[in-house]
């Protein structure tokens, strides 16, 4: 059943792959989220993006999501994603794409550069699904933030309520500032 050819399904897969490429997803994301063959994806990628896909491994560390600025970006995305999966019965990858679009929109409204790529966002969802990271409620503001898998929620304070000593003091344009 799983390998039954369906033109309709095929066109849906292609459409999904195209949206992912337009959002800047790496080839590994496409391979995992569609049933299309590697060769077809490669051709599609070149056609849509106008260049060859980046090579090399995906960023694999959970650490990145726990550093101060990325954590704030990741938390905004994940909250949006969780809302979408709760209110509607869409497939995970479609929810990731919709949440990612909303995330970039919100970030732009705050005048900050989007730090999270679609590939990272996808990884984040996988990490949380596999209990390698989790969402913990901040004991001060009550917001949900990306945290280590077994964070103690009683004493957990988020990066915005209790920023680390030197956070947000830089002058890099497009970053989150605290002054």
């Amino acid at each position: 059943m799983a390998t039954q050819k369906s033109v309709l399904n095929d066109s849906k897969q292609v459409e999904r792959a195209v949206s992912l490429i337009q959002l800047g997803a790496r080839l590994q994301v496409l391979e995992s989220e569609t049933d299309l063959s590697y060769e077809r994806l490669l051709r599609l990628y070149k056609e849509v993006a106008g260049r060859s896909p980046s090579k090399g491994q995906l960023p694999f560390s959970t650490e990145w999501f726990l550093t101060w600025q990325p954590n704030i970006h990741a938390s905004l995305f994940q909250n949006t994603y969780e809302y979408l999966t709760k209110v509607s019965a869409m497939e995970d990858i479609d929810a990731i794409m919709a949440a990612y679009r909303l995330y970039t929109e919100q970030i732009a409204a705050c005048g900050v550069e989007p730090l999270l790529s679609i590939t990272r966002a996808w990884r984040l969802v996988k990490f949380i699904d596999n209990n390698m990271l989790s969402m913990t409620k901040c004991s001060k503001c009550g917001g949900h933030f990306v945290s280590e898998a077994y964070e103690n929620s009683r004493h957990f304070e988020c990066g915005l309520c209790a920023p680390p000593a030197r956070a947000g003091k830089g002058s890099a344009a497009g970053g989150i500032l605290l002054h």
Partner: protein, 108 residues
């Protein structure tokens, strides 16, 4: 402002709201659910309304859209009367966005 005028303004606001909601839902349902903060069932009902139905629903003495910030923390962040030490406009707005997105996720 006379009572008739008030009612007319409420009707107009309701109409604008329902029409905007329909547009949003028809364009991209998933995004609309987040923007409007409503359930999929409610969204389906609204998107199926005919213009005549919208007119009828809008003509009431109540506003149909409800205030969404029902939380001191978020309200303080949005208005910048912040209790936190963070004092940057963009950053407090970002904080409020995270809290609001999380609240909807909790509520459903």
């Amino acid at each position: 402002m006379s009572k008739e005028q008030l009612l007319a303004e409420i009707r107009e606001a309701n109409m604008t709201y329902l029409m905007l909601a329909q547009n949003l839902i028809r364009q991209d349902k998933a995004e609309a659910l987040f923007r409007l903060g409503m359930s999929e069932e409610a969204a389906e009902m609204i998107s199926a309304l005919s213009p005549a139905q919208i007119m009828r629903i809008a003509s009431t003495n109540m506003l149909l859209c409800r205030f969404r910030v029902d939380d001191d923390m978020v309200w303080n962040l949005l208005t910048n009367h912040s209790a936190t030490k963070v004092d940057n406009d963009a950053t407090t707005k970002l904080h409020a966005s995270i809290l609001m997105a999380g609240r909807f996720a909790e509520a459903v």
